[in-house]
Subunit: 209 residues, 2 copies
Amino acid sequence: MTLKVSNTTKKSSVTRQLILDAAAKKLSQHGYHGTYLKDVAESINMQAGSLYYHFNSKESLMQEVLNKSIQLIQDIVNYEVEQLGETPSFPDLLKAAIRGHLIAILRHSDYTLASIRNYGQVPVAVHKAAQPDRDAYENFWRELFEQAEKNGVIRAGVDTHLLRLAIFGSMNWATIWYVDSGASVEEIADSQAELFLNGCYKKGEQGGI
Amino acid sequence: MTLKVSNTTKKSSVTRQLILDAAAKKLSQHGYHGTYLKDVAESINMQAGSLYYHFNSKESLMQEVLNKSIQLIQDIVNYEVEQLGETPSFPDLLKAAIRGHLIAILRHSDYTLASIRNYGQVPVAVHKAAQPDRDAYENFWRELFEQAEKNGVIRAGVDTHLLRLAIFGSMNWATIWYVDSGASVEEIADSQAELFLNGCYKKGEQGGI
DNA sequence: CTTAGATTCTAATTTACGTTAGATTGAGTA
DNA sequence: TACTCAATCTAACGTAAATTAGAATCTAAG
């Protein structure tokens, strides 16, 4: 007797994954409305109609792509942070989190780009379905800064809410210029962490200008 | 005799502007492929076919919207910077530029959101047509930091290229959370300028953690 | 009031997308 | 070999989008 294949190891689950990958790629490039099932199918040598054996609709396919995206980011960030050991300093923590997020969105860019580029442009049902995952990920960052504030390592006058959003912006925007920049993910991560920690300004000495 | 109406003050140019405004709004909300001429027309009580009296195609209409967007940002930033007088300090200059950019993208958000959200998702011809304007605007910022470096007010080790991209990211990403944040444009501008100038980190005193 | 030109509408054309139903294929099993 | 089930394909259906041509309307000038 051969191995009994469980539901989750059927051959079709390989195809299912192929479809998701192809959909992520198209979604990241052309947006929800610019992604056509015909193209998704063609890119893996299938017919559009065949996709319906694996997914109920375009909407549910796209929904799955977007959910996968956020979980992927979360997983990678968690991994990077866990590498740090027990009681990491705030700068190290921030650097690790930024590195993780950037690795996720720049190296696994099909899925994560899909998520970032289509924020607010997908049907409401699809957008809402991904909200819990987004909230959970946001909380991770929120707590990171709450902890830092509690430990007194945040300068007076800094609004950590706006800080978090600024960092998110810098990171996510990198998806747009990364490929053309020649910079490595590590370089970008270090640079951004350093900027948000210490800024770019050299005070004093030459006075006015 | 009444005023001779020139080409640029014809009544139709008013309609033309209405169409552009409506298109910008839809484009910012639904993306290029999710924007339908029928919807654009309906939102100003017209029929889709009538748009073709003013524009040759959907593509050319959208192209004009995107070009307008970037010029709009540039104009507002220029205005804010010019308010500063002759020889402004780098911090003041940066604050003014950030404020201008944020005013543009948050207050005139239909056009500018259209530009930001559809980056890379429009047909290549449309994207290419807006490139000169984008380049010109980018140069403004490039020069801002070149000057600052020449004046020795940038900390050693800071890559102004990555700095500029980080600032762009923080600013442009604000389009996503601005409406729900309750923060004012001025607050956000001050916060971001302050962060990029001096960072968030309070060194020393409590040592390790 | 008439008329010419500008502007808009109506209705049709073309194209293509999402979706579906039924036929077809192919691999493993009795 | 014949059968079964999973997986895919084929060929359509219905809908809707961009575009177009010609008719209808509105405006301003004589």
